[in-house]
């Protein structure tokens, strides 16, 4: 039977395999929530103590770029979801198309964040530890804000890079015809991972860019 090649030895049937695979990824995402959670906790505390400095820092970030990047990532989630759907339907060419689009959008996000935003902040002297030139009032607390800005977006970007790697592997596997409606777990769980990274950004965007008293 066609499905027997798709079934790993330790499982009794495809359903058990599929459910175990998805459940495993959800458990992993729970660990990621706690990983980012530690950073968010620290951010919440410092924001509360140094509100004016953190608001000033937030205002120094470019909302237009942030919003555009958010849109890019949301698009990539759409294409990823459509890709999983294509895998479920056994449509190989469509799957590859959507995976490639997702990858390109992800790379665009990283490019904008690193190449545009980070570069700009570095050149303007707002890069703690590397190029910090601001010496006005409250500069130490402003530096703390930028620490968190770079740590949060940096670790997020790292997760995106890993996601890009995973997508590349998926594209190659899809090209070799390794997925079918009976066995498409790798695409589905990679999708879960990708959406999660998107969700982290959904929270980062307002917490970094939007609560700076821009009125």
């Amino acid at each position: 039977m066609h499905s027997s090649a798709a079934l790993a030895e330790q499982f009794d049937d495809l359903e058990q395999q599929h459910e175990s695979s998805s459940f495993g990824m959800w458990v992993f995402l729970a660990t990621e929530v706690m990983f980012f959670g530690g950073l968010f906790t620290a951010y919440i505390i410092y924001r509360n103590f140094y509100l004016s400095a953190f608001e000033a820092g937030s205002r120094l970030l470019d909302v237009k770029i942030g919003a555009a990047n958010t849109a890019v990532l949301l698009c990539s989630s759409l294409t990823m979801a459509l890709g999983v759907r294509a895998a479920q339907l056994g449509k190989k060419k469509l799957l590859i198309t959507f995976l490639v689009l997702t990858l390109l959008l992800g790379l665009a996000f990283i490019g904008i964040k690193l190449g545009l935003e980070w570069r700009h902040d570095y050149l303007e002297g707002f890069a703690p530890g590397v190029n910090w030139t601001f010496h006005g009032p409250d500069s130490r607390h402003l530096e703390l804000f930028f620490c968190f800005y770079f740590f949060l977006t940096g670790i997020h970007a790292l997760h995106m890079v890993i996601g890009a790697g995973i997508l590349t592997v998926l594209i190659i596997m899809a090209g070799r015809g390794r997925f079918s409606p009976q066995r498409y777990n790798p695409v589905e769980v990679s999708g879960l991972y990708w959406h999660f990274v998107d969700i982290v950004w959904i929270f980062l965007y307002p917490l970094l860019y939007l609560i700076g008293g821009r009125y």
């Binding site: 495809l14 459940f23 929530v33």
Partner: protein
């Protein structure tokens, strides 16, 4: 065994909702709501995240076990935040011995 297959249209609808909420949250940031700004931003973020989780990540059609996994993560994050804040926010409640007053005032935030 194939999982639930979602209609393309639903994905596009969710996407439209996500873009709309992004525009909303960006717009609201430029309006002065005082302390409600933060709450509004977070509430909208939660809505967006819920859309992604329920529809893109298929949680709406997944078993209770997966929902428990996600719920557990958020509850544990809440424990981390709540108990840490219980210390950070209550340190100033205890009056400081008088010889330290001057130093504390100097470092006052």
């Amino acid at each position: 065994m194939v999982g639930h297959i979602v209609h393309k249209k639903l994905y596009f609808l969710v996407f439209a909702g996500l873009i709309g909420l992004t525009a909303l949250t960006t717009g609201v940031a430029f309006i002065d709501l005082g302390k409600w700004n933060t709450l509004a931003a977070l509430a909208i973020a939660v809505c967006k995240a819920s859309l992604v989780v329920l529809f893109f990540m298929h949680l709406r059609w997944s078993s209770g076990l997966m929902r428990m996994a996600l719920l557990a993560a958020f509850v544990w994050f809440a424990i981390l935040v709540a108990l840490t804040l219980s210390d950070e926010f209550t340190r100033q409640w205890t009056p400081v011995p008088s010889s330290w007053e001057a130093q504390v005032q100097q470092q006052a935030r």
